[in-house]
Symmetry: C2
Subunit: 375 residues, 2 copies
C-alpha cells in the first residue's frame, strides 16, 4: 500500500475534507470524478477536464475489457498513456455494467458470464479477472467485484446478494496485484436494510481495504432513503479511510452525502446532461433547448469561471443545441464539469472553515429557487 | 473599400503569396478557410481553429438565414461576437446551398424562392436580400448572389445561367452596404466553356469588385477540367485583387490551383472527413477505421505539430472512431485543419523562396505514395 494515503485535514460535523495521495498525484476530497467510460471523458480533451478542476477520473472496466480490451491497453502502455491522462484513475469492477448493459448474463458463485452488448461475444468476469483487468489497465484505485443488488429487493434476497459480494470482496483482496501507490476499495452492499449495511461494513473492515465505497444506491430508492442508508453506513466505516459513494449524483445529493461523511463521488450526470442540452447552474438546472434562451445574451451562469460562461451567450448555446452541433456538447459538458468541481471546492473550503452548514443551506436555497427568475 | 486591401508580396510562376488586410485582421495568402456553416467550425473551439493557423473562416448565409436568422444574429451583436471568432469571416451568398439543400426552389429573374430544409418555411433570396443578410451577419467579405450552373450543362444553358449571374452581380454591387474594411467579391461562372469564363470575367471587371471568385467548379467535372478552367480564367482576373476558388478541395487540388494563381480556398473536406474518421496526412489520406491501426502506437503524421499528433496514437484514434466518440471528431478535425494550414504555409514559404515547383513535386509525390508503407 506504500504510496497511497489519505489524510483528513478538517472535520465539520460528519463531513470532512482531506487529501488522498497516489503515485500519480493528489486528490482533494470531497472529490467528484468525471466519467471516462471508454477511455475518454466524452466531448472533452483531457487537459480541459483538468482545467475544470478534476484530480481524478473514472474508467469503466466493462467497456474497456470489451473494447479495446484490457490486454491491448496494457500492450499500448496502459490506460493513462492511451488516453493522455497522467493523473489518478479509479476503475470500477465491471460488475455494475455487466448487470445493466450486457446480454444473457448468468451469475454463479464463481463469477458472471455474459455476452458483449457490442457484438455478442462471450465473456467471463470473476473477482480474480476483474483484479487482473484493472491491473492491466494500470488504474490507481481498483474496486472489488460485487453484485449490485437490484432495487427493490426483499431483505432475504438482499442478504444473499450482499453475502456473495462479501465473499467476492475477500477473493478480490486475495487477487489484488499490489503495487506502489495502488489502492483497493471494498464496497458496502445491503440495499436499504440498516442491519445488512452494518454487517457488510463489518465484513469489509475485517478483510481490510484502502478505502470503502457505498454501492447499490441511486438505483431508484430516492434521496431520502439514500441519505438514511448513509446515516447508518458512514459511521460504520473507518474514519481514516476515504469513503466513496458510487454513481451519485445530482448537486443536492452531493451536498447531503458530503454532510454525511462521504468523500468521493462519480456520476454521468454532468457529462451526459451536457450532451443533451441540460446544464447545471448555481440557480438549478437549465434546459438550453427551451425557446426562452433564443435571444438571451447572458452567460449560462454569471458566477461561473468556465470558458463556456466566459465566451458564449445562452442564445448561442441554444442555437448550437437546436442545430445539434458537437460544440454544444463540448461547451455544456465543460460548464457542467466546472460547476461540479466548483461545488466540491466550495464544500472543501466550507468544511475547512467550519461553515459547511451555512454553505449548504445557501447553495441548496439558490439551487432550488430555479433559473426562470434569474437576472 | 477603405480598410480592405490586398498586396502581392511575391510571385513564382503564376502563383503568388500576399496579404489581405481587413478591419478584423490580416489574411495570409494562399489561404484556406475552414467552414463554419451554422456559426461553428464543427467539433472545434474557435481558439483551436486559430491555433491550427486559420486567419479567416467561412460562414454559410443559407444556414444562418434559416437558423438563427440574420436579423437575430444582428440583434445579438453580429456573427463574430455570437460565435466568439473575432477575426475575418467570409460569407457565401446562400445561392449554392439553396440549390443543393432547399426544397421546392423556383428561380426567376429577380431571385429564388424556396422552402427551408429544416421546417418547410418559405423564403425568398435575391441579390439585394443576400447583401442585406451578409451585412446583418457582419461578415468581412461578402459574395455576390449567383446561380451555380449544374454540371453537366450544355453551352447555351451555361451561357444563359452565367448571364443571369452577371446581372445579379451588378445588382449585388448596387445593393452592397459598403463599410470600412468590408469587401465584396464577384464570382466568375461559365462552366467548362473558356469563352463563357472569359466573358464572365470581363463582365465582373467592368462592374468592379474587391476580389474575384471562380465558382461552379468541384461539382463533378474532375481535376483536369477544373485546372483547364483555371488556366483560362485566372489570367483574365486583375493581378492586384485576391482570387478565390470556391469549394476546393483535396490537397492536390489546392496545390494545382495555387500554381495557377488562386489565392483563397474553402472546403468541407478537412472538417467533414474528420468526423468520419478520415485523416489527411503528408503521406496521403488515412482511414482510421481500418483495423491495421488497432495496435499502432505511432502518431497519425509524425511530421505534424498538432495536438492530436503530439498526444495520441493511431491505436487510440482508431479506438475512438470505432466507439463513435465525440473526441474522435475533435482530434481528427484538429489534425486535418492543421494539415491544411501547414500545406498553405508551406506553399506561401515556397512561393516567397521561388521554389514552389520543387515544393509541389515533393509534396505531391509523398502524398501519392500513400500511408501503407509509412515507417
Amino acid at each position: 500500500m506504500s504510496g497511497f494515503s489519505f489524510t483528513v485535514l478538517a472535520n465539520d460535523g460528519g463531513a470532512r475534507t482531506g487529501l488522498i495521495k497516489t503515485a500519480r498525484g493528489e486528490i482533494r476530497t470531497p472529490a467528484f470524478m468525471p466519467i471516462g467510460t471508454v477511455g475518454t471523458v466524452k466531448a472533452m480533451l483531457p487537459e480541459s477536464v483538468r482545467e475544470t478542476g478534476a484530480d481524478i477520473i473514472l474508467g469503466n472496466t466493462y467497456h474497456l475489457m470489451l473494447r479495446p480490451g484490457a490486454e491491448r491497453v496494457a500492450k499500448l502502455g496502459g490506460l493513462h498513456k492511451f488516453m493522455n491522462w497522467p493523473r489518478p484513475i479509479l476503475t470500477d469492477s465491471g460488475g455494475f455494467q455487466v448487470m445493466s448493459l450486457a446480454q444473457l448474463r448468468r451469475i454463479d458463485e464463481q463469477g458472471v458470464s455474459f455476452q458483449s452488448h457490442l457484438d455478442g461475444a462471450a465473456y467471463r468476469l470473476t473477482p480474480e479477472r476483474s483484479m487482473e483487468i484493472q491491473a492491466l489497465l494500470g488504474s490507481d484505485i481498483h474496486m472489488v467485484l460485487d453484485e449490485c443488488t437490484p432495487f427493490p429487493s426483499g431483505e432475504r434476497e438482499t442478504e444473499i446478494s450482499m453475502e456473495l459480494s462479501m465473499r467476492w470482496a475477500q477473493r478480490s483482496k486475495a487477487a489484488f496485484q499490489a503495487a506502489p501507490g495502488r489502492a483497493l476499495f471494498g464496497i458496502v452492499q445491503g440495499g436499504i436494510f440498516p442491519d445488512l449495511r452494518r454487517r457488510s461494513a463489518e465484513a469489509l473492515k475485517s478483510i481490510g481495504f484502502d478505502g470503502y465505497a457505498v454501492g447499490g444506491l441511486a438505483v431508484g430508492e430516492g434521496q431520502a432513503r439514500m441519505f438514511d442508508v448513509l446515516d447508518v453506513t458512514a459511521p460504520c466505516l473507518p474514519a481514516d479511510r476515504p469513503r466513496y459513494l458510487m454513481g451519485v449524483g445530482k448537486p443536492d445529493d452531493l451536498i447531503g452525502a458530503v454532510m454525511r461523511g462521504m468523500d468521493m463521488f462519480d456520476c454521468v450526470l454532468p457529462t451526459r446532461s451536457g450532451r443533451n442540452g441540460q446544464a447545471f447552474t448555481r440557480r438549478g438546472p437549465v434546459n438550453l433547448r427551451n425557446a426562452r434562451h433564443t435571444e438571451d445574451i447572458r452567460p449560462l451562469d454569471e458566477a461561473c469561471r468556465c470558458l463556456c460562461c466566459r465566451d458564449y451567450s445562452r442564445a448561442y448555446l441554444h442555437h448550437l443545441v437546436k442545430a445539434e452541433e458537437i460544440l454544444a456538447s463540448m461547451l455544456i459538458t465543460w460548464h457542467n464539469l466546472t460547476y461540479y468541481q466548483d461545488l466540491m471546492q466550495g464544500m472543501r473550503d466550507a468544511i475547512a472553515g467550519q461553515r459547511l452548514g451555512a454553505y449548504a443551506r445557501a447553495a441548496l436555497d439558490l439551487y432550488a429557487r430555479g433559473d426562470i427568475d434569474a437576472a
